[in-house]
Subunit: 319 residues, 2 copies
């Protein structure tokens, strides 16, 4: 193998929905993510070589693997026939609501774009990564993919191509993410949602979402705090999470601007001022513990960086 | 009567909903509005003295008059027993979707606040004005009241007190408003709405609304253009407006960023660059004409001023 025979890319975990923005908003998390390495291989085709990290096994069939499926599509579109061995290091717990399937897909596409020097712009990378997300959730939802690729808090407008807008957030606001040791299947969490929203709830949600977006852009903590609430999805999914109400109340009582379900759960997140992060995290962890649920947790900037190459095809490292 | 025995206030018409923001967004219009004069009177009570302008008659019963009802509430709360004679000059056509009932209520409260030197802050004035709006639409919707009072484009969060955020818009964007000579009753237009929104439509709307708010704050014309569309309410109400599809298409073909129904209609509005305003207005007027509908139209800044005193209690003029 030559020195440029492999590429490794990292893509961060993410908080999909951010409570108030179901299928609209998402933000990256710092310090946790999936890493994908692609190695040129004499055997043709896309081959799963190994899985390590938090789990040791993933489906080898590209149709069922969020990292492999977009690579197959890419090879078809660009008539790439050479073989590639794929290694996936899962840093993100499965079924955690932390955007693990999105991160694997994004890391795979970022690595492939570098390995084959395809020069895909970020929107095209996003579209390919979305082909991986369909494996996990049945549709290419962008609210985890886009923050994992671009970093920070992003607003996703569906379309062809989708339009992604990175939103600013107040500098001293951060995210506390608490992962209870439970699994929720994204497909199940979607299937349980009612097929319609009462008009009055729809209007209430619209006010919150518009206010939340304005609050982020205007750096208005009070407005963010008033509007970081989910009246549509959370009431339908909260029963999946033992202790949900206690954890949410613990977060806001400790000074968080708001707290809700990360993605389809069971992880919960809170936004708070940085100086309160330790206190908010402890309160949430304790509330889960009182419900006999063990947890891990992270504190992250909202403006966390997006996906990046760890080793380039030329062997250089750029973190 | 002494020189400070009367006060006159003006409140502008407004575009409720702004297409994408049903019960969330609204903006003021320049050059058209209602004017209310309050005169101290020896006879106790709130009395309708005269109506002129576009119409000559309005209900004299405060329970059915959007300007009188909030005055009665104000007198009760502040134990005001002196009599007041109310004159209303209607500049806004009835049942036009241009926020006429809101403007009359706002002008009445702004005048009363000055006449009795109550020192009500704007949020309190808004709450009293909302008591008038309940006459017209069955609920105190703020998306006409708030822009009429504050001016400009506003985002309304319900609450006690409601939170109103004035949003910036790109400097060279203006509004074309075309009023077809038809009437739509606000209560009827509300009653025809389905009681729920399909989840997929709800999500699509959320993306548009979030993108529209971000586009205004980021001064991003492309994003405003992509997102100024109403997938929830417009499809249900468009049948009330003869030629709706032709008028909307005429506006966008003439270069408008978007066009939809003003409030509950039948007026239609378009947002466009100032240099295209005449062309957009002509296209919309022509399209209505081809459907045998006569129209009036206005071109207005989005950042139009809100309600103001025309003559103060001391007789001074401040426009």
């Amino acid at each position: 193998m030559s020195i440029n025979s492999s590429v490794t890319a990292f893509a961060p975990a993410s908080v999909g929905n951010v409570g108030v923005g179901f299928d609209v908003l998402g933000h990256a998390l710092d310090g946790i993510g999936d890493t994908v390495t692609l190695r040129r291989d004499d055997r043709p085709g896309i081959r799963l070589q190994g899985v390590f990290g938090r789990i040791r096994e993933l489906p080898a069939d590209p149709a069922s693997n969020t990292a492999l499926r977009p690579l197959v599509a890419l090879c078809q579109d660009f008539s790439i026939t050479e073989g590639v061995a794929v290694t996936i290091e899962k840093g993100i717990p499965l079924g955690s609501g932390m955007g693990g399937s999105a991160a694997s897909a994004v890391a795979a596409i970022v690595a492939a774009n570098a390995l084959w020097q395809l020069g895909l712009d970020p929107e095209r990378q996003l579209i390919y990564a979305a082909m991986g997300e369909t494996v996990a959730s049945g549709a290419g939802h962008l609210d985890n993919l886009a923050p994992s690729l671009f970093g920070g808090l992003v607003l996703c407008e569906a379309g062809d191509p989708p339009a992604i807008t990175r939103l600013p957030v107040p500098a001293d606001v951060c995210c506390v993410l608490v992962h209870p040791e439970l699994r929720v299947d994204t497909r199940d969490a979607r299937a349980m949602l009612a097929s319609s929203v009462p008009l009055s709830t729809h209007v209430q949600h619209a006010q919150h979402l518009a206010g939340f977006v304005a609050g982020c852009l205007r750096s208005d903590m009070d407005q963010i705090g008033r509007c970081l609430r989910d009246v549509v999805i959370e009431p339908q999914r909260r029963a999946l999470i033992p202790g949900f109400a206690a954890v949410q109340a613990a977060a806001t009582n400790a000074g968080a601007l708001g707290a809700s379900i990360s993605g389809s759960g069971p992880s919960m997140f809170a936004w708070c001022r940085q100086e309160l992060a330790a206190e908010v995290a402890e309160a949430m962890v304790d509330a889960f513990a009182e419900n006999d649920v063990a947890t891990e947790h992270w504190v992250s900037a909202i403006n966390a960086p997006g996906a990046r190459l760890l080793t380039s095809a030329a062997g250089a490292v750029s973190v």
